[in-house]
């Protein structure tokens, strides 16, 4: 697991108050929403805001691309890495 993926897992736990989870409980390739981790639409907005605050990644709210970026931890890490390069 990359450091960035670990960082994003911690960001998910902190920003979404997932107090009973630790980073090891989240699989990088597991879906974040509905199935898998079971997050909902409010979590999507909250996580979008956290990613924006933490990494300065601006997200277009209507973009179809967001679905791909927010699929799992791995795809979020790729989005942040791409923004940094």
């Amino acid at each position: 697991m990359s450091n960035l993926e670990l960082e994003i897992k911690q960001l998910i736990i902190d920003s979404l108050d997932l107090e009973d989870l630790s980073c090891e409980d989240i699989d990088s390739e597991e879906p974040l929403f509905v199935d898998g981790l079971g997050l909902d639409s409010i979590d999507a907005l909250e996580l979008g805001l956290a990613i924006q605050k933490e990494y300065g990644v601006k997200l277009d709210s209507d973009s179809e691309e967001n679905r791909k970026h927010f699929a799992n931890v791995k795809s979020l890490a790729a989005l942040v890495a791409q923004h940094r390069s």
Binding site: L16, D17, L49
Partner: protein, 247 residues
């Protein structure tokens, strides 16, 4: 003047350091029995929903689920300010020109805790959320009484509030610690040995232009419920309330 009678079938109360009637009795007798301060964790709420509650919401629902015979045909939630820490943090974010937390925003309505309760428990019966300033507790009893008159056999009241964040002080204060009180009431049965109560509310003739802040009546209500001889009097800015046993 308003005058209503009802029976209290069960009640309980909880603060971060005191839980259940026995501990409140010891507290009222001045015994130092305080628990170490902990954040309540209502077991009937699944973790993915429980995380949406802040400490006051957790305290309120934890108190509610510890109410004996917790079967009610309707629930009246009562709070002067609700999860006010959440409101304060949203206002602070606006003041700093930051984006507001979408989660906090979605939960900043007065009936958010009632909503989470109903989702977690599949509760599809009537729920109201009352907020009437210093009259809140008494108007909640009147609301519950109205539901009893509307053919509900047993109505639960869940009363909860917490001290206000420092940004509001000293303008207003709500007690020293967060407090939740749950009551289960039914129509007055007039049977011997039942817990019959009478509430009287009288509008003040001359509403003072500026009244001194009266103490939050939550702890007074607990003392009243514990003591069979007690009568509870409370004057808000608009009403004088008397709660007493009627049998």
């Amino acid at each position: 003047m308003i005058k209503i009678t009802f029976s209290v079938n069960a009640w309980t109360a909880q603060s971060p350091t005191i839980q259940g009637v026995d501990e409140w009795r010891a507290w009222s007798e001045g015994k130092n029995n305080l628990r170490e301060e902990t954040t309540a964790s209502p077991k009937s709420i699944p973790p993915m929903l429980r995380r949406r509650l802040n400490p006051l919401g957790k305290l309120a629902l934890s108190c509610f689920e510890s109410l004996p015979e917790h079967q009610a045909d309707a629930v009246v939630f009562c709070s002067e300010h609700g999860e006010v820490e959440r409101t304060a943090s949203l206002l602070s974010a606006i003041a700093r020109h930051e984006d507001m937390s979408p989660t906090s925003f979605s939960l900043s309505v007065h009936n958010a805790i009632a909503g989470i309760y109903s989702i977690a428990n599949n509760y599809e019966k009537p729920i109201n959320a009352i907020c009437a300033g210093p009259d809140s507790i008494f108007t909640t009893l009147i609301e519950a009484y109205s539901l009893l008159k509307d053919n509900h056999q047993q109505v639960a009241c869940l009363i909860y509030d917490e001290p206000l964040p420092s940004m509001y002080l000293p303008a207003h204060q709500l007690g020293q610690q967060a407090l939740a009180i749950a009551l289960l009431i039914s129509p007055s049965s007039r049977k011997a040995g039942s817990n019959e109560f009478e509430l009287q509310g009288e509008p003040l003739k001359n509403t003072p232009a500026h009244t001194e802040q009266t103490a939050y009546p939550g702890e007074e209500l607990i003392k009243f419920l514990l003591n069979s001889d007690a009568e509870m009097q409370y004057t808000s800015s608009g009403h004088h309330w008397t709660l007493k046993r009627s049998s």
